[in-house]
């Protein structure tokens, strides 16, 4: 059996190949079509049109990598390649970790997330293909006012369930963390304050995640060192049971 390092090295090699293949395909496709029809834009016009969007999306897309890789592991490549990160890929990965009771960031977590993201990507691409083919009959049904309302509240519908998971002490793999929500107090107060200042700031979710990460991370570290947050590993439960039996 390959070691953890050998597997991680190999899956990241594949991930990089997949990411770069997608980048090349995404740039080549419009460039080739433009060249065939002799309608390629002037590079300056392209830069002018893209500048505003680049300023918004470079920080967001870069921050997604730093925020989500610790959760998704090597699945980050396929997650980014197939898109729909927050409303699809991240939730399916978290769901898979929860039902398998696996710790995120572990090799098992990486592999289980990989299966979830892979399956999700195949299903979404298939649903989209069927939708494009059946566009004419499906459109009246899927554009009903009630369906449009329901789909506009997909994020609160998704995050409600995940919020319940965060409120629990079990984090998967038999590990129990008591008091970890204390680390979320300061970032929650900052986000609440920003909301009161301007709701529009909160549209820059990617940037906010990266700004709040150190607040949560180092806050948790400080609280852990002071004993305000306690972590129990599976081995601790075994030792406690064994010493109770001796008594």
């Amino acid at each position: 059996m390959r070691t953890t390092k050998e597997y991680i090295d190999s899956i990241h090699r594949y991930g990089r190949f997949a990411a770069l293949s997608t980048v090349i395909a995404m740039l080549a496709m419009p460039a080739v079509i433009g060249a065939i029809y002799h309608v390629l834009p002037d590079p300056l016009a392209l830069l002018k049109a893209a500048a505003g969007l680049l300023l918004i999306f470079i920080p967001i897309t870069v921050s997604e990598v730093f925020s989500f890789t610790p959760v998704l592991g090597s699945s980050i490549y396929l997650t980014l390649i197939t898109g729909n990160v927050l409303n699809l890929k991240l939730p399916v990965a978290m769901n898979a970790l929860r039902i398998m009771d696996v710790e995120q960031g572990s090799e098992s977590g990486d592999v289980i997330s990989g299966i979830a993201v892979g399956v999700s990507a195949i299903v979404t691409i298939s649903v989209m293909a069927i939708g494009a083919i059946l566009m004419v009959p499906l459109k009246p049904l899927l554009t009903l006012p009630s369906v449009k309302i329901a789909s506009s509240y997909i994020l609160p519908a998704l995050f409600g369930g995940f919020m319940v998971g965060i409120l629990q002490n079990e984090v998967g793999g038999g590990i129990v963390i008591k008091g970890r929500l204390k680390a979320a107090i300061v970032p929650a107060l900052i986000i609440a304050a920003l909301f009161l200042v301007s709701e529009k700031i909160l549209q820059l979710q990617g940037v906010l995640i990266i700004l709040m990460l150190p607040v949560t991370y180092f806050g948790a570290k400080l609280m852990y060192k002071r004993g305000w947050i306690k972590v129990a590993l599976p081995a601790d439960a075994v030792l406690t049971k064994a010493s109770a039996k001796k008594k």
Binding site: L20, S21, T22, A150, A188, L213
Partner: protein, 234 residues
Amino acid sequence: MSFFNLAESGAVWIGAVSVVALVMALAVVFLMKSWARAKELGYTPAQLKNVTNSTVSYTIVPSIAVLIGFFGLAAMVGVPWAWYRLSVVGSVGYEVMAADSALKAVGTELQSATASDFSLVMLVMSVCILGGLVTAALFAKKIQAGTMKMKERDARWGALGSSTFMMTILVVFVVPIIMKGGVSLLTLATSAIVTVALALLIKVTKAKWLTNFVLAIALLAAMASSVLWTGLLK
């Protein structure tokens, strides 16, 4: 040649199908690699089938929500390009914003836009979203290695440290929903209540198979409830 003549042309369809087929192939290979490793780590086919079934049931509803966004985007940039963009890298919110921004940069009305304008829109929408993939290719392995090293040095802190990433994501999304109140808050609460209710039901009935579908059921129930809350709060 007009904007929509090029947007709905055979060339764009061939390009879209080719890139989506590439991405599908990449996904299948990635799944096979993860599956093979899961078996090496000792997971049984039954366990992996559970993950698959749960993921499929959980993916369908959000995929349909993306399909709804597809209809809006197709009206702006044609069917093949909209389908391709929502299947590869993009998300509904980004693609609609990018298409809108690119069309504004073109400066003409859609009805009088040309094939050159469509070519510009294609390139703008493609170039602006690539930052994540390039960053991942450069840094993802180092980030994951850092997370795993954190666990090796101190398993307790490693577990806590890893959980702070998801906690941060939830804070950034959930706090504004709570502050906003109204239908968003009620939908969030419905999702949470249904999740807890199902967990209790599983505990009482010992129907462990239901665990795979808890979040999918909570998602559907909460989305349906949003229609009710919207009606009540109007």
